[in-house]
Symmetry: C2
Subunit: 428 residues, 2 copies
């Protein structure tokens, strides 16, 4: 009996899924037979002219009416590749309610509504798989679910937004933020409105999905502070390099007393840390376990084919009657506060007493300075310099930064970035 797939969406990922599936069938790889029987998309005539439409079996039904797929008798698995909360949520509820397995790449839906949807799937005796929702073709979700369930994971760190990683790793080699963003938009890596990516909303949805699975913590995405990467400039990469670091958009969540510390934003990352390894649109997730230490997953986090591989792998698991391990999670309080060393970058109009003023503010807030860096060759009316702190509370430091922001010498808002600390260790 073949596994019959109803596909919602025949765009970049949907059409790549059809191609990956056809290649598997052709390869006679011995995988259980999986067959697309129905395809929903607006503008079916246009989609049927798509170069990859040939990978859909000739007898499949194409429809512009989603209900023709969600509850169809000849569909065992609904594969949802449309994205967004609405109307996708209603569709998946209908499909699960009709006893269909669901495979989705929809990170927003799983982040915001996963708990309810998993419960519905369990009640109906079907599975809701979402391996493509985080890090595309990198098997982070199945890897954690099936391969790390035996550890007590305490922290998860990731580079889970390919757009930001493309922008920041390009800036590392000298490009300017605005210029790289425009290049990313032209190449299709970034949306016309890049906010979901650069301001961290995409990454924090993924972080919440990872926190539920790895930390067993249900956290509300909106409670996770997200900071934009758009404040990062070329000078930050120069100073970061001097500190043995680079800059990346990092999403991190850790179990702490009373809940979860979680945040997303640009951070200084030591070049010795695996988090600094990712370049271009690559993704990377590092889990930290009490017993197993750090485990790194990395690869192509975006793009049609890598994402389609994740979707296809979930469908293969369903076809093999493999039930994914789903540890129970509990609701936890989120704090954006972290105790860590920080990097402060100032652009000032030079005048006597600036360093003394800044040092004074930090001292009054009990924050110790680790280093002061000032490169030569900048104009005195726009002088960038950097102060790094010893580990301190991000909340306390935010107060100090607000106070420093009022100093008359400040030409731009102070940029404050956490410095990621590498501390991998496994128990012996």
């Amino acid at each position: 009996m073949p596994i019959r797939v109803g596909l919602l969406g025949f765009g970049t990922v949907g059409s790549a899924f059809a191609e990956v599936l056809a290649a598997q069938v052709l390869a006679g790889s011995g995988a259980p037979e999986i067959r697309i029987t129905r395809v929903f998309n607006r503008g079916v005539a246009r989609k049927k002219a798509h170069a990859r439409a040939k990978f859909v079996p000739a007898d499949a039904v194409w429809t512009e009416n989603v209900d023709d797929v969600l509850t169809a008798a000849d569909v065992d698995v609904v594969v949802e590749l449309m994205g967004g909360l609405d109307p996708a949520e209603g569709w998946l509820r209908t499909a699960l309610g009709a006893g269909k397995h669901v495979v989705t790449a929809n990170k927003q839906l799983i982040a915001y509504k996963g708990t309810e949807l998993f419960a519905l799937a369990a009640a109906k005796g079907v599975q809701l798989l979402y391996g493509a929702a985080v890090a595309g073709g990198v098997p982070v979700i199945p890897g954690i679910a099936q391969g790390l369930g035996g550890d007590a994971m305490t922290r998860i760190s990731g580079i889970v937004n390919g757009t930001c990683n493309f922008i920041l790793s390009s800036m590392e080699t000298g490009a300017d933020y605005a210029e790289v963003l425009a290049r990313a938009q032209a190449a299709g890596y970034a949306e016309a409105d890049p906010s979901a990516d650069v301001d961290g909303f995409d990454a924090r949805a993924k972080l919440c999905i990872l926190a539920r699975l790895a930390l067993r913590a249900e956290i509300a995405p909106d409670a996770v502070p997200a900071r934009t990467i758009s404040v990062v400039s070329a000078v930050d990469f120069a100073y970061a390099k001097e500190l043995g670091c680079t800059v990346r958009q990092v999403a991190q969540a850790a179990l702490v007393e009373g809940g979860v510390s979680a945040r997303v934003g640009p951070m200084l990352v030591p070049l010795s840390s695996p988090v600094a390894w990712s370049h271009g649109t690559q993704n990377m997730v590092v889990t930290s376990g009490r017993f197993g230490g750090d485990v790194v997953f990395s690869g192509h986090g975006a793009g049609g084919h890598p994402t389609a591989v994740a979707v296809m792998s979930d469908v293969c698991a369903l076809a093999a009657n493999s039930v994914q391990v789903r540890p129970p999670a509990q609701a936890m309080r989120v704090s954006g506060e972290v105790v860590a060393p920080h990097y402060l970058r100032f652009i000032v109009a030079d005048e006597p007493g600036i360093v003394a003023g800044i040092a004074g503010v930090l001292a009054r807030h009990g924050v110790n300075i680790d280093a002061i860096l000032q490169h030569r060759g900048h104009a005195p009316e726009r002088l960038p310099f950097v102060v790094t702190t010893e580990p301190c509370s991000s909340a306390v430091l935010a107060d100090a930064v607000a106070e420093m922001g009022k100093m008359s010498c400040m030409v731009e808002p102070v940029v404050c970035l956490e410095i990621l600390v590498a501390d991998d260790k496994a128990t012996d």
Copy 2:
């Protein structure tokens, strides 16, 4: 109904497993109840005095008779942590035959006898899980099985022997082979007889396990050429650095026309390749898929607790009634030959005409020279220098090397290392 575990072996991994399991239970993590009911080990009295014996439930039965565990009515899962082919194979056949699930860390057994044992497990309707057999706490096996089954994987590369990686990454910072080996032996990373590690036999067993799962190719471990790392010396790291590389023991298998190209040995690895990222006893596996490109898994590949995490994760998957995806594999022919650039290092007693002689041998075999490197400051009677080649057949080059080895100037055997080529790409 708890899952009842019968443990074979209460050494480093077995006792760590008991600790990891106890921590899960204490953490009330919601994992299904898993309970050790029986422990087999020689010298029970001594083992019961082990500091971690307290993690075994007080009512568990300790025994020096393995049959008390293999077919016991109060055992659902036999966890085998003894290693070796014999008597482990017979034990596991008995356990599977009695309808017990088996979780094992035994790489030799899975590499040499996996196909038969999987068939036996399937016939008995039980599972044989082996996540700990490759890369310890790094979830490579479940990650590939559950998360990459949708890709058509064409190559697998790995650093899967922590001892060799410890030795070579230590040599990278200037240490001498013999000295580091002695240090590794003192630290417990290397056996008194280090042959299984340094000569590549351990790594090739793991490579065969990965090839079966990722490439769906059954290959005989003994057919995979394994070359020793003991020929690598400090001077090779100096030349490798000049070439933008380091040296690692790499295990690689790739689908080629008519079979599988597979080999294990020291190779030059570009510093830009993820394979160069691993330091110390870390493990790393890179899968290359036709559609998803390269995926990297890395972390702690050895040690009691990381390995115990892999074992525990397999037991958790059994407890969740999760059936691992197991793609069918077929027997394939192995070739050790590869077309790649190579590194040749000579130690010669200097005399006129050496380079001309070497170049002449290479030319007669149709091998093109890419670069000739010779550092200053070496004694003329033991002069090391290096020739790198353009991509050429390793078999052809081996003939040339044999011929060069007969040149009167050679003070030591010629060292010939493959240069790993980084070529990650996903389909767009």
